[in-house]
């Protein structure tokens, strides 16, 4: 037994993200790790990779206690982690990236300098192991995504790993490139290296792994040999709960079209995107990470420019979009990353919540802010969102939990009385209770006459809330489903299964 986890727990503040995980991994074994977003996959891998320590439980590597306190410590013990976001320096050469911390050196009159010859030989050797034949002096910025990934793997191999963790390694690869990667993974397996393969692409998982482990809400719900799984059973175990009771219903009276998008194209990101949203309709966008959904809504909101196509808002052709105009038009945009984009984390709750609607609270020639009114309105909205807080004007938003932070972002946009609310992963990393409350707020908004465009990687959430689901893949819309056609497997299949066939 190579790696063993015993009753591993991890909490962030009051939220328990991992609730006692126990499993083991043998030499040369590939374990597929699947689960919904927020199920605890990345937390578990970060524990193994030395990003942070567990709250409780024990880990053993080769029978010895394994408790790395940094990624480097994990690496030196033989655990390498290939992140979805590659950790390469594009401004340096391939060879320099491979040896950034342990350049082979030679001494010349007592002065230690980088031994360029040895580096080249060693780098070529490592690159050869992953099937790359290029000049190691080439800069990484000149490489396309696939060879970059291979360089990252070569870097990992340089430290003689016993275990390699892959986190969504194929998202930026073409079908052909992914196939080559799988061959490499099988080769490494033959050398006795164990691997943990995390992916949303269930087809790939079934093709590649020996065993499958399914995480749900911080628990390992099932771990078994591959042969006892198919796509349906995996999806069922991942979701695990009946959705009907989980999603509150709402009164339906869909009106006429408010937003019409035709052939919207932003070079390199989205191509010929055509769809519409009606009044009091909730339209969901589903697809893999990198399918172009976030990019599309950024264009709609006016954060990025588009090259061609048209946007019609309430019957009027829009030729210019920017966030200021969008807010004036009644379009609000809740971004995916609430810490980086949604909140001013070093400001208090009041200031964050009033920000987008500040114009509503001003009066007179000088647009002086009516602080009293702003405070009252914010209080009202924050109350409506059931946010748990201590003090509106004293407490920094950074002290709130993830779910409560998200409610503040939502309150901020609700204060602008949006006619169209764009939500990008509104429940990412939020516990189930807060999720349900956010669903209720969305329904409320829609019942009062607004429309919602919602991006989510959780299909169940979209199926529970939306009137229509549009699937995107590689920057294009590939399918659209009405509520009556909602079927989990069909939609999943279009998004995951067929995504390579479309090419």
């Amino acid at each position: 037994m190579l790696l063993q986890l015993k009753n591993i727990k991890k909490s962030f503040g009051k939220v328990e993200v991992l609730k006692g995980i126990t499993f083991s991994l043998d030499e040369g074994m590939i374990l597929g790790l699947i689960g919904e977003n927020g199920a605890g996959k990345s937390t578990m891998m970060n524990l193994l990779g030395g990003i942070f320590p567990p709250t409780a439980g024990e880990m053993f590597l080769n029978g010895e206690t394994y408790l790395p306190n940094s990624p480097i410590a994990a690496q030196s013990k033989g655990v390498a982690f290939i992140h979805q976001e590659l950790n390469l320096f594009p401004n340096l050469s391939i060879a320099e990236n491979l040896f950034i911390n342990q350049f082979p050196k030679k001494r010349f009159f007592g002065v230690s300098r980088i031994d360029k010859k040895t580096i080249n030989v060693k780098a070529k050797e490592l690159l050869g192991q992953v099937g790359l034949t290029m000049d190691p002096n080439k800069k990484v910025e000149e490489l396309s995504p696939a060879p970059r990934q291979l360089v990252e793997i070569a870097k990992a191999l340089g430290a003689n790993p016993k275990i390699i963790i892959f986190d969504e390694p194929t998202t930026s690869l073409s079908h052909h490139e992914a196939k080559k990667l799988f061959e490499l993974i099988k080769k490494l397996k033959a050398q006795g290296i164990a691997m943990i393969y995390i992916s949303h692409n269930l087809d790939d998982v079934l093709k590649l792994v020996d065993s499958v482990a399914i995480l749900r809400d911080g628990e390992l719900v099932r771990m078994d040999e591959k042969k006892s799984f198919d796509i349906q059973t995996m999806v069922k175990e991942m979701v695990g709960r009946e959705m009907l009771e989980f999603f509150p219903g709402r009164m339906k009276k869909i009106g006429k079209k408010v937003l019409e998008v035709e052939n919207l194209t932003a070079k390199g990101f989205i191509k010929d995107v055509t769809f519409h949203i009606k009044k009091q309709e909730v339209v969901g966008f589903y697809g893999l990470v990198g399918a172009g959904r976030s990019e599309m809504v950024r264009v709609l909101y006016g954060l990025d420019r588009f090259d061609s196509g048209s946007i019609v808002w309430k019957g009027e052709l829009i030729d210019k979009t920017n966030p200021v105009l969008s807010i004036q038009r009644g379009i609000a945009f809740l971004t995916e990353d609430r810490i980086e984009e949604g909140l001013l984390t070093r400001m208090n709750i009041q200031k964050n919540a009033q920000l987008a609607a500040l114009g509503h609270f001003t009066k007179g020639l000088l647009h002086r802010i009516n602080r009293f009114e702003a405070k009252e309105k914010v209080k009202e909205k924050v109350y409506a969102t059931k946010t748990k807080y201590e003090n509106l004007t004293e407490q920094l938003v950074s002290t709130l939990s993830g779910g409560n932070q998200q409610k503040i972002v939502l309150a901020k946009w609700l204060l602008t009385d949006p006619e169209l609310l764009i939500l990008d992963e509104p429940t990412k990393g939020i516990d189930i209770g807060a999720k349900r409350e956010i669903y209720g707020l969305i329904n409320n908004l829609v019942e009062n006459g607004s429309s919602v465009l919602m991006i989510s990687s959780e299909l169940e959430e979209l199926m529970g809330l939306c009137d229509r689901i549009i699937v995107m893949s590689k920057g294009k819309i590939t399918a659209s489903f009405d509520k009556s056609q909602f079927e989990r497997n069909t939609i999943l299949e279009v998004a995951l299964h067929k995504q390579t066939a479309i090419l």
Partner: protein, 324 residues
């Protein structure tokens, strides 16, 4: 990439060399005195102080930092070394002492930047004022005339080369070696590219930040001594605004303000030579001295614009690489 885009990219990449040639040819045509051996040696000697200052600055800029205090360090170093020598301390005692002062300034900058996590711009803006004020206080805002021995060092020669050029060459070679051929040098580039990634990759980010600000402070002190050996006096405006000249020289030489891009040889050297050539040329063709800042300002504007264009075109090229 189309051929046109490639040509633009090439022009942007070698913009400094192109600009340098344009300046040389223009002044050469305007005055026959400009492109003589005597004047070229002159430009080299005059530019030695600025180049050394800019070399230190390059290290800092490569980590995506900035050091606004170098001009003030030059001033403090000048005032203290002047006072010490006037009191009667031998020059060979004063020099190592003031080099340590340069290092101390670097240490203070680095401490506030990586220990207290204050942005480099603000930290070094503070030390910029502190340094200038300290210098004015010690010198009682009066100019200090240095003994003849100081000037003798400036005009002495080693192996037939004027002393300032010898010192410049030494700093240049060591700086280039450190950046291009040592692990520390390559890690400077990694930190400048992405500090979070560098930390994840196990690069000792703090140690590297500390070292670059120490190098920058030391270079400022050396630069000060080299300038003093030519001027022979410390005026209350000594070193004033030199930080901007140093940043301009480095950026003009292709060092990016966004960090991670650039080099000393040929980059910063050419940048500094370019600035000095313009100043020298303006004097030779007898332009009204009040116009100098206008022209220098225009050049700095051009540089920053070119850097921004270069950054944009690189990003664009990267963007099209990940095209669907």
């Amino acid at each position: 990439m189309t051929r046109f885009q490639k040509a633009i990219q090439l022009l942007l990449n070698y913009s400094t060399v192109v600009l340098f040639l344009v300046v040389l040819v223009t002044f050469g045509l305007l005055s026959p005195k400009f492109l003589t051996l005597g004047n070229i040696t002159n430009i080299l000697i005059q530019s030695s102080s600025l180049t050394i200052l800019a070399i230190g600055m390059t290290f800092v800029l490569l980590t995506a930092g900035i050091d606004l205090s170098v001009g003030s360090i030059m001033f403090v170093v000048g005032v203290i070394s002047g006072k010490l020598v006037v009191i009667g301390l031998p020059i060979w005692w004063a020099i190592p002492l003031v080099l340590v002062i340069g290092l101390l300034f670097g240490l203070v900058n680095a401490f506030f930047i990586f220990k207290l996590k204050i942005v480099p711009f603000i930290v070094t803006l503070a030390t910029f004022y502190v340094g200038r004020g300290l210098g004015l206080y010690i010198s009682e805002t009066r100019a200090i005339n240095l003994p003849e021995s100081f000037l003798q060092i400036g005009s002495s020669k080693l192996l037939g080369l004027p002393m300032p050029i010898v010192i410049l060459l030494l700093v240049l070679i060591i700086g280039h070696f450190v950046l291009s051929s040592t692990q520390f040098g390559r890690q400077v580039y990694a930190v400048g590219n992405d500090m979070a990634k560098a930390r994840k990759a196990g690069v000792p980010v703090k140690k590297i930040l500390l070292t670059v600000y120490l190098i920058c402070g030391l270079c400022a002190a050396i630069s000060s001594l080299v300038a003093l050996a030519q001027l022979g006096a410390v005026s209350p405006t000594f070193g004033y605004q030199n930080e901007f000249m140093a940043i301009a020289a480095a950026v003009l030489g292709g060092t990016s303000l966004f960090g991670g891009k650039g080099n000393i040889l040929p980059g910063t050297l050419i940048g500094a030579l370019l600035i000095q050539s313009i100043q020298n040329g303006l004097v030779i063709i007898n332009v009204n001295p009040y116009i100098y800042p206008v022209i220098t300002g225009t050049v700095i504007f051009l540089i920053v614009m070119i850097d921004s264009l270069r950054h944009k075109s690189v990003q664009k090229a990267l963007r099209t690489k990940t095209t669907i």
